[in-house]
């Protein structure tokens, strides 16, 4: 079976600064893969290369079986993306946002109608379907944004810090949605700053200064570093880098 994400020696330089330094990643189909790193470690640069927003300086990356550099079109149809910033349109209603993305991804009018009905129902937004997105609470917005990213049933979905600023209960519900997507066979590639969320992932990769410093299941990583939580793993890895940066 082909890997959902297959990355070799992927590199991105900005002038003399190397933001992503020859990283390797392999993510299985249906995995929930956590991508951790301090601010400025190169996470966002790496994600941008995987979704075709940034061209690599070197190395190769295949997503959903296609090369991101040469088969961008094929990749784009098979991936979903939820950016760090809230990416729905405030001045459109819930249903209008769904319809827009359905149309952009080439769904038929009927598919759009059926899927948005199901989605609105599942999210409990039936009474708010005609409200402007601006007026609904943040937690609902994030869940809606995730559902919209999943509307065209992508094979891989990229979530860039999806739960920033969201209350603990909504975060819990959000992760239930992530598991449901993974159970349906979608690969979930997620970055986060919350270390408790990292524990929910099938496998993790921790980036430090543009390199991958550790990779494995949460259990493997904890035993490798002899600590009790992913938080401690992260602190051990990130500390030398932080000390160097402060020097």
């Amino acid at each position: 079976m082909t890997l959902a994400i297959d990355v070799h020696q992927l590199t991105r330089r900005f002038g003399s600064f190397t933001a992503v330094d020859a990283i390797d990643l392999d993510v299985q189909q249906g995995e929930v893969f956590g991508f951790l790193g301090a601010n400025g470690a190169g996470k966002t640069t790496a994600i941008k290369m995987l979704i075709g927003l940034l061209s690599p300086s070197g190395g190769t990356a295949r997503v959903a079986g296609f090369d991101v550099l040469t088969q961008t079109e094929e990749v784009r149809r098979r991936i979903g993306y939820m950016s760090q910033r809230f990416s729905l349109y405030d001045d459109l209603t819930v249903r209008e946002n769904i319809t827009l993305y359905g149309g952009i991804y080439g769904l038929t009018d009927r598919e759009i109608r059926e899927r948005s009905d199901a989605m609105i129902d599942k999210l409990g937004l039936a009474s708010s379907a005609k409200r402007l997105v601006r007026t609904i609470p943040l937690g609902w917005k994030q869940k809606l944004a995730f559902s919209v990213a999943m509307l065209h049933r992508p094979s891989v979905v990229f979530l860039d810090e999806p739960t920033g600023g969201v209350d603990p209960i909504t975060r819990r519900q959000f992760w239930e949605m992530i598991y449901a997507a993974a159970a349906d066979g979608t690969t979930v590639f997620v970055t986060t700053h919350y270390m408790d969320e990292a524990e929910y992932c099938d496998r993790l990769s921790i980036m430090v200064d543009g390199r991958i410093a550790a990779q494995g299941t949460p259990v493997e990583l904890k035993s490798e570093f002899g600590v009790a939580s992913i938080d401690d793993v992260f602190v051990q890895l990130a500390r030398p880098a932080a000390a160097e940066a402060g020097r």
């Binding site: 784009r76 149809r77 990416s87 729905l88 149309g103 952009i104 080439g106």
Partner: protein, 373 residues
């Protein structure tokens, strides 16, 4: 992706853009009323034809001929005699205080000079502190004197050469006829360049553009999707401006409306190209807005021939005016509106605009893509 799917995706995008426009009521109302307000305001404020010219007459020794000349002035409808003086010494103060715009000084013995066949002397003095109106007032005054003189000759010496001057296309020299085409250009620039720059940089600022770029939408679909709804707004604006110009100022429309709308489409696309280019090169809505103001509105007003004729600009600016799209578009609109010109008369201008459009759309799409790499 199949063409049908591309069209469907474009449709979804156009619907979204239309909703943005319709939902932002305040901006929409401003955009729709702008041409009306501009035609009326500019039309009244910028006109260079002058009425109610205040006239001071110096007539040292009134006789039948000098009285006849004075009657000509008061009968012309343009002049109001504010002072009749015996002595030219007081003129200086009158002008200085701004009490008179034009003075006509009639030398003593006008009737006797004329009777004797000696050249008669009439002097016209104009307040030219505003050169535009000064020239116009001067011209009006000369016309009155010339008419008087013409009749004089006709009566006394039989028929001589009598020039019959007719101002073609704009016989009454209504300056508003010249401004309306300029205003159409200005309004279209605002709707096309400014609004696309703002709406595109808003999507960049808010991060929604990133999501669109990750989707299967191609850059040309995004640009076209932004363009189409504004094109309709531009049509509405052109029609409003024409209607307002006709209702309020009776500006004629002699040419083909279809041709004018086609030319407006071309010009709007040029503006949109500029808007996209500016949005792609700037990082915030505010910068994009100021950039568009400076980069399009200013040259469209000052270097386009809308207010100041291109021929009266200094040579370097004349050269520069060639890259201002409005300079070409205004010629087209004036040609269609006032002269009823067809495509064949406007080939150069239309070709220049087409060239500009192709160049800008290619460059804009490219710089849009470069932002990603």
């Amino acid at each position: 992706m199949k063409l049908a799917n591309r069209v469907a995706a474009l449709r979804a995008f156009v619907v979204k853009e239309t909703r943005h426009i319709l939902r932002d009521r305040q901006t929409l109302i401003i955009l729709l009323l702008m041409p009306l307000a501009q035609v009326v305001l500019f039309g009244f404020a910028l006109r260079t034809d002058v009425n109610d010219i205040r006239l001071a007459i110096v007539d040292a020794a009134p006789d039948e001929e000098s009285l006849a000349l004075r009657a000509r002035f008061s009968g012309s409808g343009r002049f109001t005699t504010v002072a009749t003086l015996r002595n030219p010494d007081q003129l200086e103060t009158r002008f200085r205080r701004g009490e008179a715009d034009v003075a006509v000084v009639i030398a003593p013995g006008l009737a006797s000079d004329l009777a004797a066949g000696v050249p008669a002397r009439v002097q016209i003095i104009t307040d030219a502190s505003n050169p535009n109106t000064g020239t116009t007032m001067q011209a009006y005054a000369s016309t009155v004197v010339a008419a008087w003189q013409g009749d004089l000759r006709g009566a006394r010496a039989g028929v001589r050469i009598k020039p019959d001057i007719r101002m073609q296309f704009n016989p009454t020299l209504e300056s508003v006829n010249l401004f309306v085409p300029g205003l159409i250009a200005l309004v279209l620039t605002m709707v096309s360049a400014l609004m696309t720059a703002i709406s595109l940089s808003r999507e960049m600022e808010r991060g929604t553009l990133e999501v669109l770029l990750v989707s299967p939408l191609r850059p040309w679909q995004i640009i076209l999707g932004k363009v189409l709804p504004y094109l309709f707004l531009a049509f509405a604006n052109v029609l409003t401006a024409l209607l307002a110009a006709w209702v309020v100022f009776r500006v004629p429309f002699r040419g083909s409306l279809v041709l004018l709308l086609a030319a407006s489409t071309l010009y709007t696309l040029v503006g949109l190209g500029i808007g996209v280019l500016i949005a792609a090169r700037t990082s915030s809505q505010r910068t994009a807005m100021i950039g568009t103001m400076l980069g399009t509105m200013l040259p469209s007003t000052l270097l386009s021939g809308m207010i100041f004729p291109v021929a009266s600009l200094p040579a370097p600016l004349q050269l520069l005016s060639n890259i201002v799209p409005a300079r070409w578009f205004i010629v087209v609109v004036r040609g269609i509106m006032l002269k009823g010109a067809g495509v064949t008369h406007l080939t150069t201008e239309l070709l220049v605009l087409t060239g500009m459009m192709l160049f800008l759309l290619v460059v804009a799409t490219r710089s849009f893509r470069e932002r990603l790499a």
